[in-house]
Amino acid sequence: MGEEWVLVAWLIVTTAAIRGAGPVALGGRELPARAMGVIGLLAPALLAALVVTQTFGGEGSELTVDERALGVAGAGAVLALRGGILLTMAVAMVLTAGARALLA
């Protein structure tokens, strides 16, 4: 079996196990109010981290400031003006591609 199939098999198994683990272990149980307070704040914490890592993440583990930062800043401006989600993404894409074309 080629290494690509070994990788695919491992990814299928580990991804399914990780996604299922929380619901299987803790499903339907009432958690204490303090725990629910923490859980309710996981979304802003994880989303902010995803914005940061997908904007500044580079090859491997390094911090990279490139044209994506301009695109995401533009997205922030659209959101500040209460623009819709598709417009936000379109502006990010166009600004990033435009800056790359100009700097290339």
Binding site: T14, A21, L47, A75
Partner: protein, 252 residues
């Protein structure tokens, strides 16, 4: 005849509510599905030379996790080996652990059914199904994921087949789509009304930024979930947590 006799049985009303949630989720999931589809095209373009056509398509169809797929591809393509690629994928997927723990109290039914809901988690649908106070709408979650699946697999297929025509996905700015989308979810979510959530977001972002250059990819996002511990201080101001909603789901 009493008024209650004319109402449909409770079980049917609940089923209607759940179907409404599913449909609302599907609608809400469409913008993300468009972004996911475009990104999947770039995954197909990048993966085909490394994994080949079949393995690339099977990966998208059965793993269905963007960051893990991109991350493991980057490691394998960079000569890092299969073990390192799997570890990268596990780290990138590890955020589904706290996300699944968060989802768990809102799920009913046997373990297989609960696991099924867990398998439908993607970042966007999880965030959009969040109802505040630690509660989630599982049917909305499933609905919000649904449009992304054909978009992800179909986009991968297009990328695999048309890679030569598309060229470098970065030239089109596709890599800015996901951070922009997550920013929109973040800003459009609870930040506007909730100061503690805003503080947690800033702290989470700062943790991720500080760790990005010193830890393997995936670790910064998991570590950032620690910012949510600020919620330990909020016992009195989380009404949903103090007064749990009346249980309406008879299925479990």
């Amino acid at each position: 005849m009493r008024l209650t006799d004319r109402l449909p049985p409770r079980r049917i009303r609940v089923r209607d509510m759940r179907r409404d949630s599913l449909v609302a989720g599907i609608r809400a999931g469409i913008p993300f599905a468009i972004a996911a589809g475009v990104l999947a095209v770039s995954f197909g373009v990048l993966a085909e030379p490394v994994l080949g056509t079949e393995a690339t398509l099977v990966m998208s169809a059965f793993v269905f996790a963007g960051s893990a797929q991109f991350g493991s591809l980057a490691v394998l393509g960079g000569g890092g080996g299969v073990a390192a690629a799997v570890i990268a994928a596990v780290l990138l997927n590890a955020r589904y652990l706290p996300m699944g723990i968060a989802l768990a109290p809102s799920l009913r039914g046997g373990w297989l059914r609960r696991a099924g809901y867990g398998e439908t988690m993607i970042d966007a649908s999880w965030a959009m199904a969040n109802r505040g106070g630690g509660r989630f709408d599982p049917d909305f979650l499933v609905g919000a994921t649904l449009p992304s699946y054909p978009a992800w697999v179909g986009g991968t297929l297009i990328g695999v087949l048309a890679g030569d025509l598309i060229g470098d996905p970065a030239d089109l700015g596709l890599d800015a789509l996901f951070p922009a989308f997550f920013l929109a979810l973040l800003v459009g979510g609870e930040l506007r009304s909730d100061r503690l959530a805003a503080l947690v977001a800033v702290l989470g972002g700062a943790i991720a930024l500080a760790l990005t250059s010193v830890t393997p990819a995936g670790v910064p996002v998991i570590a950032a979930s620690g910012a949510a511990l600020l919620g330990l201080r909020r016992r009195r101001t989380a009404p949903e947590a103090v007064h749990p909603e009346i249980e309406e789901d008879p299925v479990g």
